[in-house]
């Protein structure tokens, strides 16, 4: 737990900038996140409306409110991760160590890190319909990788599971190498994705066990 130095990319200049990743966010941190992001979300909505962007192309997390998730951090099995750059939260992720277990045949029933929620700040969203290119990139990728790292540290060998919103499925399947395991009726029919131990090792630059 604590802060670590990372680097993210500023899109406009294509330069790398220093940021910090916090493991172990407090409930009050989520209140700050919501305070910082709410007005930007409203601005995005206004621009989407002004530009008559079809609702299907709106960011699907537009309704989220991170402050509502503050109670989740009071549980022993949840951990909050956040990226800070230029004094603002650029992305947030909440993970759980239980009660979810692996669904892949190769490791069915084994413990894993489940990504409960993940989102990047609204000013980092890329929305072509309103010409928004986003301020910083790779924030979500950094957070996802941190979940894989957490899985290794917990002894879960890089196993990670999550239910993706439809807009994000390509990122997790193609970008992260996760395996889609079908829609889950218990999660509003969102598709469940899982990262295998082998896929986790690849992301962590670890050699396969002898």
């Amino acid at each position: 737990m604590g802060w670590e130095a990372i680097q993210i990319e500023e899109r406009a200049s294509r330069t790398t900038v220093e940021a910090r990743l916090l493991s172990g966010m407090a409930p009050t941190d989520l209140s700050v996140v919501e305070a910082e992001w709410a007005s930007e979300r409203s601005l995005v909505v206004q621009r989407l409306l002004q530009s008559s962007v079809p609702r299907r192309d709106w960011p699907q997390s537009l309704h989220w409110n991170w402050e509502r998730k503050s109670p989740a951090l009071a549980t022993q099995t949840s951990t909050g991760f956040g990226v800070v750059c230029e004094g603002k939260w650029q992305g947030v992720m909440l993970t759980k160590r239980s009660p979810y277990t692996a669904q892949l045949d190769s490791c069915r029933g084994a413990p894993l890190v489940y990504i409960d929620f993940i989102e990047v700040a609204p000013w980092n969203w890329v929305i072509s319909g309103i010409g928004r290119t986003g301020l910083y990139r790779s924030v979500g990728s950094r957070l996802f990788w941190k979940a894989v790292k957490q899985s290794e540290e917990e002894g879960f060998r890089g196993r990670v599971g999550l239910h993706s919103l439809p807009q994000a499925e390509k990122f997790y399947e193609v970008g992260c190498g996760m395996t889609p395991l079908g829609r889950d009726p218990s999660k509003q029919n969102l598709t469940y994705f899982e990262l295998s131990e082998a896929q986790g090792r690849s992301l962590l630059n670890r050699a396969a066990p002898a």
Partner: protein, 161 residues
């Protein structure tokens, strides 16, 4: 901010590729706070029902409330009530739930009407009929009253399943 540690980072090639895909996807969000609240439907989420804003307007007028008074009673910003009634914005779930208390409709039913939860078939059908029938902003005519009452009846009926 203390306790800064050396970073054991991801492979650079993977990070570059993943970042490109982040850009393509608009959102990389998972889970969904809305899922927790029962507010998100994977099929067609984010659409405000055409009937919702008009229903709120009719419910307000049926109670003889001004927009300002409704906003005050619900404890939400006037601008948000105006946005709801003008059907210009996707309502926030919190706003819908607060309005539900004032117009005395079960919150989960009003969320369905707002397009923030998967609607039961009877709600979808009643909402569609209401959206067609209710088109003016003048005082409720008998036919508007009938359309409004019909939808109201469905929304107040006990939930099945």
């Amino acid at each position: 901010m203390t306790n800064t540690e050396a970073f054991d980072g991801p492979p650079r090639e993977w990070l570059l590729r993943a970042a490109e895909l982040e850009d393509e996807c608009t959102s990389i969000s998972v889970g969904g706070l809305a899922v927790d609240l029962g507010l998100y439907a994977a099929d067609g989420a984010g659409r405000q029902s055409g009937a919702f804003g008009r229903f709120v307007e009719f419910a307000r007028r049926a109670q003889g409330l001004s927009v300002e008074r409704l906003a005050e009673a619900a404890g939400v910003d006037l601008a948000e009530v105006l946005a709801v009634e003008s059907r210009d914005a996707v309502p926030r779930a919190e706003v819908v739930l607060r309005l539900a208390q004032v117009v005395q409709i079960p919150g989960e039913r009003l969320l369905e009407l707002a397009g923030l939860a998967s609607p039961h078939q009877e709600v979808s059908e009643a909402a569609a009929r209401f959206a067609v029938s209710a088109r003016t902003t003048a005082p409720l005519s008998p036919s508007e009253r009938e359309a409004f009452d019909e939808l109201l009846k469905v929304l107040l009926a006990p939930t099945e399943g």
